[in-house]
């Protein structure tokens, strides 16, 4: 008579169920991990300085130094 071991995860295909559950969990983790990325680098000239920094605001040493 063939003996069937219910505690053997290979015979009961338990290992496959574990793999599927692990996959579902790790897939979510993987996608969240994939979402984390470096900031987008744009090639090209640097942006021009803001207007108030160049015209409106006085130079630092014009009045503060006295």
């Amino acid at each position: 008579m063939e003996v069937h071991h219910y505690v053997n995860i290979f015979e009961t295909k338990g290992v496959e169920y574990i793999l599927v559950i692990l996959f579902l969990l790790t897939f979510v983790i993987f996608m969240r991990h994939l979402k984390r990325h470096a900031p987008v680098r744009r090639q090209g000239p640097p942006p021009p300085p803001r207007l108030e920094e160049t015209i409106v605001a006085p130079p630092k040493d014009s009045s503060g130094g006295r």
């Binding site: 290979f10 295909k13 290992v15 496959e16 793999l19 599927v20 996959f23 897939f27 993987f30 996608m31 991990h33 994939l34 984390r36 990325h37 470096a38 900031p39 987008v40 680098r41 744009r42 090639q43």
Partner: protein
């Protein structure tokens, strides 16, 4: 005169002038690519004549043990997987409204259409009696239950679908506004029909091997082959879009709107993310099938090592590079991952088709030089056709103003 201007001014000229203008070569003739590809195409054409003159045995090493060789393994199995980008992207753009990918949709559909036309067309070379190819269509002695019957009909219908999806560009090229409007209305239903067909025949190609349980090595044979073929066609197609798109973006740079050059990097990143996610699923499926089949004892053999080369070297490693490339925003790494993935797909399809096929048999199969030359001829012809069309039709450049307004 630029090609864009040619399209805009077309109605003012006669059809004869238009045709003569379109036949005029664009760009230099003696480029390195042309110098390499032209002799290969000529040699391939001579070999094709010999194949039809003297029979398939005159140019191939195929035998009774290996009826399917390089032409089926590469041209049909791999070519169709590489064309998978068309159904994935059309579904994303037209059904899911992922408009980000719209700038590359025409080039992708054109690449898919040409892949089917040339690679599946190369099937004619492999058939012992090529004139029998019409049998599934005209109902002459075919089996309704045959997977080849399904694949034959699907190839025909899908090629028609892809032609319809691409046809608005042809209508714009020929300056036919009414036809363009009508074809535009057909796009969405055609895309839905095409995606359905693709899912079925991509998996159908895997199903062709289901009755080879005793011939295909257990590490590759599984009853889930159709699922594996379908899932792998998704990332194979996306990788092909990245690879082909990177080349066309460089070669046809003048046709693209300079303001949209940065958008292309964003598109590549999005495609890389999709490819990485699908490869993760594929890797899990392979692991599950491996555990399900209890194939541990094969790992120590030379076949086990070869299987590991395919799975680790050309699935796990590209997956890691895709992930790193996406996270670090490194387009170069993503291109490398795409190239490795494409090699992996070629390897997988060839393993299933003839390398791991008849693995116990003392008879072996190594493709003949003529088979390789004819395969290269098919690839080069497809690239020539793609280039000819992109130079003339609004594939990468903006459509004419009347089409955009309509």
């Amino acid at each position: 005169m630029s090609t864009a201007v040619t399209t805009e001014t077309m109605p003012r000229r006669s059809w004869k002038e238009f045709i003569l203008d379109q036949l005029r070569p664009r760009g230099p003739i003696f480029t390195p690519f042309n110098v390499i590809s032209a002799p290969v195409i000529l040699a391939g054409m001579v070999l094709v004549v010999i194949r039809f003159w003297k029979g398939i045995g005159a140019v191939t090493n195929l035998n009774q043990s290996y009826p399917w060789g390089l032409w089926i393994g590469f041209d049909v199995m791999t070519g169709v997987a590489f064309a998978g980008g068309a159904y994935v992207l059309t579904a994303a753009v037209y059904v899911l409204h992922a408009e980000k990918y719209h700038p590359i949709i025409r080039a992708t559909v054109l690449n898919g259409l040409l892949s089917y036309m040339f690679y599946a067309g190369a099937l004619m070379l492999d058939l012992g009696r090529p004139w029998h190819i019409v049998n599934p269509i005209i109902g002459n002695r075919f089996g309704y239950n045959s997977i080849l019957f399904l694949v034959a009909w699907h190839f025909l219908l899908y090629m028609t679908s892809e032609f319809l999806e691409f046809s608005p560009a042809i209508a714009e090229w020929l300056w036919l506004p009414k036809l363009r409007r009508f074809l535009g209305m057909l796009t969405l239903p055609t895309v839905i029909f095409g995606v359905t067909l693709s899912c079925l025949h991509q998996s159908g190609l895997g199903a062709l091997f289901l009755f080879n349980r005793n011939k295909l090595h257990p590490l590759w044979y599984t009853e889930f082959l159709p699922v594996l073929f379908l899932v792998s066609s998704v990332f194979a197609g996306l990788s092909m879009v990245i690879f082909e798109g990177s080349i066309t973006h460089r070669v046809f740079r003048a046709q693209l709107d300079p303001k949209k050059h940065h958008d292309f990097d964003d598109i590549i990143l999005g495609l890389a993310r999709g490819a990485a996610a699908t490869m993760y699923v594929y890797l899990f499926f392979k692991l599950l099938v491996f555990v399900h089949g209890k194939h541990w004892h094969y790992l120590g053999t030379k076949w086990g090592w070869w299987w590991l080369v395919e799975i680790v070297g050309f699935v796990a490693v590209p997956l890691a590079i895709y992930t790193h490339g996406y996270q670090a925003r490194r387009i170069g790494a993503i291109r490398l991952a795409a190239a490795l993935t494409l090699v992996g797909i070629i390897l997988n399809r060839m393993n299933v088709c003839f390398i791991a096929f008849n693995w116990k048999s003392p008879v072996t199969y190594v493709p003949a030089v003529a088979e390789v030359v004819i395969t290269l001829m098919v690839v080069f012809l497809e690239i020539w056709a793609f280039r000819w069309i992109v130079h003339r039709l609004p594939v990468l450049r903006e459509p004419p103003a009347w089409a955009r307004e309509g």
